[in-house]
């Protein structure tokens, strides 16, 4: 499955290059400037907007999952498809909804990321950085993804500004995976992964 999705990724990337070309497009959202300067620290406007919008999206997804009947059905289906089917939940339809939601979230992320620089094909590799985020937070934990994201972000930034100048160029890219390795040694389900219910 993993290999197929990687292959499909390459295929789609090729298709995009064929249609729209591999050069970069300029792309920016016209959002009001909210650059913050607190003490010695400078917070740029674009990353702040990205943070706000991703928190908003996150909140919407949480509300959808935990406050609506659709969300309840999604959580039930995620646990066991056959049981969900037996109780009248159309599993295929639920899977479709889940794919739609994830596509929506990815679109928001893509817009925010292209807002930092330019819109181009190679940008899609950013998606791979979600792997340590999700694994550190715990595969099945939603809050874990948020915490994991912040941890990985800080880890990357710190490694970029403190360790890379020591001569280790590119360490920034590796640091999250090293962190992931350490976390998985201590907690195999990730930091907030659901503890399996075991019956004795």
């Amino acid at each position: 499955m993993t290999i197929v999705s990687l292959g499909l990724g390459f295929f789609l990337r090729g298709c995009i290059q064929l249609i729209w070309g591999s050069h970069s497009y300029s792309f920016f959202l016209d959002l009001p400037d909210i650059t913050l300067e607190i003490g010695d620290l400078l917070y740029l406007s674009d990353p702040i907007w990205a943070g706000i919008l991703s928190l908003l999206t996150f909140g919407l997804v949480i509300v959808f999952l935990f406050r609506t009947r659709w969300g309840l059905a999604i959580r039930a289906t995620s646990e066991d498809q056959s049981k969900a089917m037996a109780f009248g939940i159309n599993a295929r339809f639920i899977l479709m909804i889940v794919w739609a939601i994830s596509a929506l979230c990815i679109t928001v992320a893509g817009i925010m990321i292209s807002n930092f620089g330019a819109l181009q094909v190679g940008m899609s590799y950013v998606g791979l950085r979600a792997i340590p985020v999700v694994l550190i937070g715990g595969m099945d934990s939603i809050g874990g993804a948020l915490v994991g994201g912040i941890i990985v972000g800080i880890c990357e930034a710190l490694a970029g500004s403190y360790i890379e100048p020591m001569g280790l160029v590119g360490f920034k890219e590796v640091a999250p995976y090293l962190l992931l390795l350490i976390v998985l040694f201590i907690r195999p389900y990730g930091l907030f992964g659901t503890v399996r219910i075991e019956r004795v």
Partner: protein
């Protein structure tokens, strides 16, 4: 109400599990299906509930009819919505990581309306234990509570006919007794019940009619009281009957020697 006609089901295109089963379920009765492990009881229920595709099985012959119209090949959710047929899978099909209330909510997904809350109260009336556990995760409930929850969830779908797959699996005799008395009560409230059981004695005691399945065929059928008295059923499923050991010699059809040498 429900009629199964000469049903043949094959798994993975090679394993033949049901070899031509025909049976009818009359409205308002409790129908008992007993049989050894691997006889095809669960497969029968799966095919009726429209879930056989999920387990890579195929109905290669025969038909399943609900109130005269064929439901063969329909989706599980469709069958439930259109004909009010709910299948409670074996081994306590509850969602472990949802609370008991959420479980009941998830089960009423297909018919969400304003009456869900009052229906939930009704389920709590039937199963008083569930009310005190409503905010607990179902995975931490005991086996009996989980089975009651499973039947409660089935009630949330407003069934007209309920297929129960071994509700007594792994439960203590006392709990089983309580469960069966609730099943009887449900039947009296107007729900037709098809009960598949290993616990033949308890099941036949509440049932009206019964079928005995062996290797995908019906070998015996009749009134539940008659089956309880039947010599073979008593010996194979109830563990009573003739006490003295039988020898293969007695089963020999010909006592006379057929050739010299």
């Amino acid at each position: 109400m429900l009629a199964i006609e000469n049903l043949r089901v094959v798994y993975h295109d090679v394993i033949s599990v049901l070899n031509g089963i025909s049976l009818d379920v009359n409205e308002g009765e409790i129908l008992i299906i007993i049989g050894a492990n691997g006889a095809g009881k669960t497969t029968l229920l799966r095919s009726v509930a429209g879930m056989i595709d999920f387990y890579d099985g195929d109905i290669i012959e025969g038909d399943i009819k609900m109130e005269g119209s064929s439901i063969k090949g329909l989706d599980a959710a469709d069958i439930m919505k259109r004909y009010g047929l709910t299948y409670v899978m074996e081994d306590r099909p509850v969602f472990w990581y949802l609370t008991i209330e959420e479980n009941l909510g998830a089960a009423s997904f297909s018919r969400w309306d304003k009456h869900v809350k009052t229906d939930m109260e009704e389920v709590y009336e039937y199963f008083a234990v569930l009310r005190s556990l409503r905010n607990k995760r179902a995975g931490y409930a005991s086996g009996g509570e989980q089975q009651m929850l499973a039947i409660g969830m089935a009630l949330m779908t407003k069934p007209k006919i309920l297929l129960l797959d071994e509700p007594s699996l792994g439960l203590a005799p006392l709990i089983t007794e309580e469960l069966f008395s609730i099943i009887k009560k449900l039947n009296e409230s107007g729900i037709t019940i098809v009960l598949v059981e290993q616990n033949a004695n308890a099941a036949l005691n509440i049932g009206i009619r019964g079928y005995v399945i062996e290797t995908g065929r019906i070998v015996l059928d009749g009134k539940a009281v008659d089956l309880l008295k039947n010599e073979d059923v008593r010996e194979f499923y109830l563990g009573s009957g003739e006490k003295e050991r039988k020898s293969y010699k007695d089963a020999k059809r010909y006592k006379r020697r057929k050739r010299w040498l």
